[in-house]
Amino acid sequence: MTSSLIEARGLTRSFGSVQAVRGLDLDVATGELVAFLGPNGAGKSTSLRMLTTLLAPTSGSATVAGCDIATDPAGVRRRIGYVGQGNGAGHTQRVADELVSQGRAYGLRRREARDRAAELMSALELDALAGRKVQTLSGGQRRRLDVALGLVHRPGLLFLDEPSTGLDPQSRANLWEHVLRLRAEHGMTVFLTTHYLDEADTMAERVMVMDHGRVIADDTADRLKSKHVGERIVVRAAGRDGAARLAAAVATEASDVAVDGRTLTARVENGPATLPALLRAVPDVAVETAEVRRATLDDVFLALTGRSLRDTGSAEPTTETTGA
């Protein structure tokens, strides 16, 4: 056993001439909640599919839950839970049946599998749907069933591939409530991929930003923001030369000072302290509006790549349909 629950070294995957993942190095400790954040096509899912033994790496190696993905894929499969991008339950199957089959697949006896199915249905508010065909469930219900399927064998490590894509905001919040509660109850390590900024920001304790098949940043969301973007103050002056005078006054404490017409933007260490001090320093400049802008993970992505995640059209949860 290694000290890390997930340890990857130089993991690479090519599809023809396209390198989807380029030399991924990764260490995830027990108990972490980690997210891969990046635009579609960044290599998030391909990385996850390699770590979960669905896809053989072109080169490199990885140990997941103590088992080598290349030499002991069966060991990895027994120890991990996996919730893929699609819906894990067969459309013509019934909710309880599918949970029982899954329990049997993970080695539970018939009786145990039935008990475990009942337990999970109650934990994920699926009791009332036990006899329903999967194709009649709503998107949120199906996703909860997917999570239940992934937890049948009480895995210590759960992979979630874009868990909330296509869900409405209420269903997303509900799904996360369940995942976080189950994680707290069982001390589960959770590894997810997402292209939703706020999901990575609010849910993950550690964010790995992926772009073009590489991890380009790896830290907590807060540290990523302060390291790569910082806070900005934005002040709009009433008069013509006000912004320039504000810029001169803040210059010693700020970096990236920009004046655009009557608006000053400056990157500072501590916005809430710097902004009032600046306004006091030049009391005769009339100010219309003044605000502190905290960085978002999109700002981080922009600072790192020169592109916005929003430009990929995938950064915000909308009513888009689930990608198959």
Partner: protein, 253 residues
Amino acid sequence: MSVRTFTTDTSIVLERELRPVTRDPFSVVFSMIQPLIFLGLFTPLLAGVTGASTGASLQAFVPGILVMSCLVGTSMTGSNLQMEMKSGSHERLLVSPLGRPAQLVGRALKEIVPVLVQALIIVAVTLPFGFRVAPAGLLVGLVLLAVTAVGLGSLSYSLALAVREQEWAFWGVQQTLLFPLLLLAGVLLPLESGPGWMRAAASVNPLHYLVDAERALFSGDVASTTVAAGLGAAVATAVLGVWVGTRAMARAS
């Protein structure tokens, strides 16, 4: 993987596959409609052309219809897997500890159930119209159909795994192969009156041997070379299908 794991895993997959069938038995009955239409509309024509009685026509045609319903049903089954590939449930099972060969074999074994149910229904509805069958022959005939169903189902799953989620490719290949296989099996009309090249093509079609064997079996001719050839064809189909299918499933991602 041990033999015990394989059989346990196969039974888990088989049980899962059978659940929708047992929960909705009508799905099997609905897929009966096509062979029954053929029976109802083709038998009178056959009787008219040959001048034979309805009973005699059925005697020639029912074995063919059984093979036809076996081929039609099992060749379509890959589309169920395609649906599972599309939805994500196939992927979920691939990540599970269920052995890959078991995931193919369990699915293929399930094909036996609808094929046998359909065969028994067809025999039952034709008995009042003068169709006669030897019980021992029927029993062996059903075994041959079951073995063939496993092979053909496996091949259909292999096709689905090969073309992945491209439904048009699956149906294109399935439809292209379906009718030549049927016609060259002598299901509708006997091939003896066909040209030499056709008989040559039929001689490499395992379903041709199967149809001949079923005809011999139903008329009570159990221990014959025709039946042995049919058995050989059925087993060869099953071995080929399972071999191709397990390889495809092992590589599935």
